[in-house]
């Protein structure tokens, strides 16, 4: 499933979609909230930096484990110092939300690629507890 993200209301749609998927897979309400909170942040990053992008939500499997994989991809300004962006959620990025570091904490896997002037790709995964 792919959701276009260009304005604040798209964040709500992305959250809602991810939660529906998570619920279908059998994630607990706490994990559903974790996923929603992380997505809020990733999607917000797209909107706050004035670009547009997409959030892609997919069910994945590894062995007998099921999980939810979420991509947030934008064509924004990119991040020059990723390490700092992960650490510095509090002081940058519009003053609200929990930052990229917070999103990382809520999920089981977190990967980020970014190129200045081209955009940013973030991939996060939450695995079901067996």
């Amino acid at each position: 499933m792919e959701i276009k993200v260009a304005c604040e209301y798209d964040i709500v749609i992305a959250r809602s979609a991810a939660k529906t998927e998570a619920k279908k897979l059998g994630f607990t309400i706490v994990d559903q909230t974790r996923i929603a909170t992380a997505i809020s942040e990733l999607a917000r990053n797209i909107v706050v930096h004035g670009s547009d992008g997409i959030v892609r939500i997919e069910e994945i499997e590894k062995g007998d484990r099921k999980g939810l994989e979420i991509w947030a991809i934008d064509r924004g300004p990119g991040i020059e110092n990723i390490e700092l962006a992960l650490k510095d959620g509090w002081t940058s990025g519009g003053g609200l939300g929990i930052g990229l570091g917070g999103a990382k904490r809520l999920m089981d896997e977190f990967e980020i690629q970014s190129e200045v002037g081209k955009g940013t790709k973030v991939r996060v995964v939450k695995w079901m507890r067996n």
Partner: protein, 323 residues
């Protein structure tokens, strides 16, 4: 808690209970950081949630009440989730700032230790040779006295700077301290200074009693500096009075002088570094009261200055009683 934040949460919660709209949950996650910025405790948030909720479900049938409770918990969970993550970030930011400050303090410590070490021996040379000048050249006695006073000021400044960096940098150890005993030591150490100015130090408490606090090894410096300050700014021949008062949970020590007093605009700032009293005739490094404040804060007490109705200042220090 800030009424505006409370009103916003109420609005979100009520809207969610009506429409179960995801947008309200998103708004909740945005609210979390503001709650942290406003230093709202998790306990307070939970209390606020149930207060609003209980108002909303009053007079409803039990079954409906249960459903609403369940539904509302989604909003609280959303809020607390973002709160927890943001709170952790907030703490980490403070840890980073703390480490930065520590680094700066370490540097300051090193700087002061080099400064004091390297200044001390030339200073002693100046003082030593100055003594000799008087013998060789009796006409220079007046200058010699000025040199001596200046050298003493430098010496005091170095000592104060060392103490200041020490009380900030060295790990504190706390033990039971009797204020009567401590004040006796402080008075004894400053006796010569008081005598020089013919100042009587009166003690307005019963030295036979115990006034116990959980004090750090630097606590004495707080009283030394405040009393020293009182003596410095007192006119010759006047008196300084120390009293200890029993207050619920704490001892209050007051040091009253009959000097010029502290103008209102200086009453807070006087405890910052390098802020001094009246122009001219200044005798301190400007660090003494900053040392006192640092130490008092470390000992979980309070320090402030009031006007002495008879003219002059009253420095007050409170310290929690030893339990």
């Amino acid at each position: 808690m800030d009424e505006k934040l409370r009103a916003r949460y109420k609005e979100i919660l009520e809207a969610y209970l009506q429409h179960n709209d995801e947008e309200e949950l998103y708004k909740t996650s945005l609210l979390s950081r503001e709650l942290i910025n406003n230093r709202v405790d998790p306990d307070e948030i939970i209390a606020m949630h149930f207060e609003i909720l209980n108002q909303a479900i009053k007079n409803l049938p039990l079954e409906k009440m249960y459903r609403i409770y369940n539904n509302a918990s989604t909003v609280l969970l959303e809020l607390m989730m973002s709160y927890a993550v943001a709170y952790r970030e907030y703490i980490e930011m403070h840890e980073r700032l703390y480490l930065k400050e520590r680094e700066l303090n370490d540097f300051l410590e090193l700087f002061i230790s080099i400064l004091s070490h390297d200044l001390k021996s030339p200073l002693f040379n100046i003082m030593g040779y100055n003594e000799l000048i008087g013998d060789i050249c009796p006409d220079a006695r007046e200058y010699q006295e000025n040199i001596r006073l200046s050298a003493e000021k430098i010496q005091e400044l170095i000592e104060d700077a060392r103490t200041y960096s020490k009380v900030r940098a060295v790990e504190q150890e706390f033990k039971v301290v009797d204020l009567a005993e401590l004040l006796a030591e402080v008075v004894q150490e400053l006796e010569h200074k008081a005598k020089e100015k013919e100042i009587t130090v009166k003690r307005n408490y019963n030295p036979e009693l115990k006034y116990e606090v959980n004090g750090s090894q630097f606590l004495k410096h707080a009283f030394l500096n405040v009393l020293d300050n009182a003596i410095k700014y007192s006119p010759t021949g006047s008196s300084v009075e120390i009293s200890v008062m029993n207050q619920p949970g704490e001892w209050k020590v007051c040091i009253k002088d009959h000097g010029e007093g502290v103008p209102d605009e200086f009453k807070c700032r006087i405890f910052e570094r390098f802020v001094r009293g009246a122009e001219g005739g200044i005798k301190g490094s400007g660090i003494g009261l900053a040392i006192a404040k640092t130490v008092v804060m470390q000992n979980k007490g309070r320090i402030w200055v009031e006007d002495n109705p008879e003219g002059g200042a009253i420095f007050c220090i409170t310290l929690p009683k030893w339990k």
